[in-house]
């Protein structure tokens, strides 16, 4: 009978405690798995949101991402368009505004987009904005919750008023809703109305070309985004160009530190916790079976086989729990993600817990090591057991 078979039999023999140990490891393991998902979840989700926009470089006025107009943005856009490796550009301005449909009105975020082949949002219904001549009728693309809140859908009309600085005496402009889109970075409580830059300027009451706050660049297939970033830097040293990877890295350094820290702390704690608990359980279990183990040694069963049996017992308990922890952790992650997304101002598409294969591999590795480490002391106890003294004590006891 192999050590694994003996371990399996021993586990079945003490079924209740084995089930409880597996449940305990599964619950703690679910937490560990979730912390591994959390450790890079925000970054991965943020990166995906950036990539989903279809643009891989962005230009802003200053270090950081404050909404400040880029001086002479129109000229910069044209210059960037002519750069090798650039497939598309879009200049974006974002302002606070007010939208109204009939009696319903409310605060909205207004996004103005310059001429571009693609938009940094995904049309789910209707059509995208069309680059029309200045002064043409206003077209608008709204976010997914806009129709239900304002009772206006594709084909309907919405009054838009720009509110730079918070108040305006300007008359609103009427826009025809041509599409409903998924705006990756819009918060769930935020309504968004996108229009051409020309329409936004009219809503803001500006007569001259407004400066864009962000210029998005899509590099051509095979082009190096970093080369374009460097080229922009040479062309306009007064602005800042970032590839998506650099944006993610900036947020990694500044914005996500808390979750990275707590993920590290909790991952460590849960691993130590699991190790301590399984080691304690196995040690107490071995102490309960000392007579049995001494008898096995007395009849000639080698120490390494008894140790192997204990390692397999640990592996069965920890391994069973670790495997059960994955679906349990996935379910828990959904709940925790929903909880954390109650934070104000978070983009709708941003998630804290994102599955990566790497997390699963680390999870299984950690528990593999934990299983081995947990069995080390009980195996040592069993191997070093003074046979005669133990047999004597068992008889007397």
């Amino acid at each position: 009978m192999t050590p694994l078979a003996l371990a399996w039999r021993a586990t079945r023999q003490y079924r209740a405690r084995a089930v409880l140990a597996v449940v305990g490891v599964a619950v703690i393991g679910a937490l560990l798995f979730d912390m591994l998902l959390l450790s890079r979840g925000l970054l991965v989700s943020f990166g995906r949101l950036l990539s989903a926009e279809g643009f891989d470089i962005r230009i802003v006025a200053t270090q950081g991402f404050a909404r400040i107009g880029i001086p002479e943005s129109a000229a910069l856009v044209e210059a960037v368009r002519r750069m090798p490796g650039v497939a598309d550009t879009a200049a974006i301005a974002v302002e606070a505004g007010d939208a109204g449909v009939g009696a319903a009105h409310g605060h909205v975020t207004l996004i103005g987009r310059s001429r571009a082949s693609a938009s940094p949002w995904r049309i789910v219904r209707g059509a995208d904005l069309v680059d029309s001549a200045p002064g043409a009728g206003c077209e608008a693309v709204v976010d997914g919750r806009f129709p239900s809140q304002f009772h206006a859908d594709v084909g309907g009309s919405v009054r838009v008023l720009g509110l730079p600085g918070g108040a305006s005496a300007l008359p609103p402009i009427d826009c025809r809703i041509v599409g409903v889109a998924d705006f990756g970075f819009s918060a769930s409580g935020e309504r968004t109305v996108a229009m051409t830059m020309d329409a936004l300027q009219r809503a803001l009451g500006t007569t001259h070309g407004a400066d864009a706050q962000v210029i998005l660049i899509a590099s051509a297939a095979g082009a190096d985004p970093n080369a374009i970033v460097r080229a922009v830097g040479r062309l306009r040293p007064d602005v800042r160009a970032y590839s998506n990877a650099e944006v993610v890295e900036q947020f990694n350094r500044n914005g996500f530190a808390y979750f990275r820290q707590i993920s590290t702390v909790l991952s460590t704690l849960t691993t130590v916790f699991a190790f301590l608990l399984v080691a304690t359980l196995l040690t107490v279990s071995v102490n309960q079976r000392l007579g049995e183990i001494a008898a096995l040694r007395a009849v000639g069963i080698a120490r390494h086989r008894i140790a192997a049996m204990l390692f397999w017992e640990s592996a069965l308990l920890v391994g069973g729990g670790a495997l059960a922890a994955v679906p349990l952790g996935a379910a828990l992650a959904v709940g925790l993600d929903r909880l954390l997304r109650q934070m104000p101002g978070l983009p709708d598409g941003l998630h804290f817990f994102v599955f990566e294969r790497r997390a699963l591999v680390v999870h299984l590795l950690v528990f593999g090591v934990t299983a081995a480490a947990s069995a080390a002391y009980p195996a040592w106890l069993a191997a070093r057991l003074p046979i005669a003294e133990t047999l004597r004590r068992e008889v007397v006891g």
């Binding site: 140990a21 937490l31 702390v265 916790f273 359980l281 107490v284 709940g335 909880l339 109650q342």
Partner: protein, 261 residues
């Protein structure tokens, strides 16, 4: 004779980074290329109030008198810019009037947001993080309870014959159950106390580590009396429950079967 430069306060981190001390003359500019500058004299170094939302940020900052800041940063082409500020902090003579004052001001000036500093909304970032921590602690307690039950089962099994003897000589099941409950409760309370002691010991180490790492005075972990009480209140019934659950079959089984090997 030139007028003395206006005074500013700089953060400890800025003083260290730029090797400045009180009395030094510094030039502040609003543009990276050095446009729009003004000269000031450092009159003091302050420790920035720790901001949990920005604990990773290096607090390279300075505090100016408002007119000096406006003079330095206002857009000369916008006459309204010199009159605009971002925030007004108000200290009331009677803090009990906070909410009434806020309500009055909000209705009088609808274009501003008036908010008592002590307000704690359910959607606040820290309220959400608090709920997150509670959720994690619940999960941890559930996992620990499973292990606790397993260990108590082993203990109960070890004492099978002892319990059998006690029942044989007439000790009632009720008395045995009470002793098991008291033992479980005692183990749980001692365990909770040990956990609290461990938390207190690690509190200092963790705070020291993160305060050093991020150069901040922010306190990251604080073990309060309420938390300690909560730990004991959660642990005690778990210990009692685990002890009773683990011993239940021993107390209900036929007494002679407890001696069967």
């Amino acid at each position: 004779m030139l007028a003395p430069s206006p005074g500013i306060l700089i953060s400890r981190q800025l003083a260290a980074r730029a090797h400045l001390q009180v009395g030094d003359e510094v030039t502040l500019a609003t543009e990276p290329q050095g446009g729009r500058t003004a000269t000031f004299r450092v009159t003091g170094v302050y420790e920035p109030t720790p901001d949990p939302m920005r604990f990773t940020a290096e607090r390279i900052e300075a505090r100016l008198h408002l007119p000096d800041l406006v003079a330095l940063a206002a857009d000369g082409s916008d006459p309204g810019d010199a009159e605009s500020i971002g925030r007004i902090n108000v200290a009331l003579t009677d803090p009990a009037d906070t909410h009434a004052f806020a309500a009055d001001l909000a209705s009088s000036v609808p274009t501003v947001v008036v908010r008592p500093a002590s307000d704690f909304r359910e959607s606040d970032v820290f309220a959400v993080i608090d709920r997150f921590h509670v959720a994690i602690s619940i999960v941890t307690v559930v996992g620990a309870t499973a292990f606790l039950l397993a260990l108590m089962l082993i203990r109960a099994e070890e004492r099978r014959e002892t319990v059998g003897v006690m029942r044989l000589i007439g000790i009632s099941q009720r008395s045995l159950l009470s002793s098991v409950a008291i033992e479980g409760c005692a183990i749980a309370i001692v365990g909770a106390a040990f956990g609290i002691a461990l938390a207190l010991a690690s509190e200092r180490a963790i705070n020291h580590y993160f305060q050093t790492r991020y150069d901040t005075a922010l306190v990251f972990i604080r073990v309060t009396a309420a938390i300690a009480v909560r730990a004991v209140v959660v642990a005690a019934p778990l210990g009692v429950g685990a002890g009773i659950a683990a011993s239940w079959t021993l107390l209900r089984r036929n007494v002679l079967s407890l001696f069967r090997r």
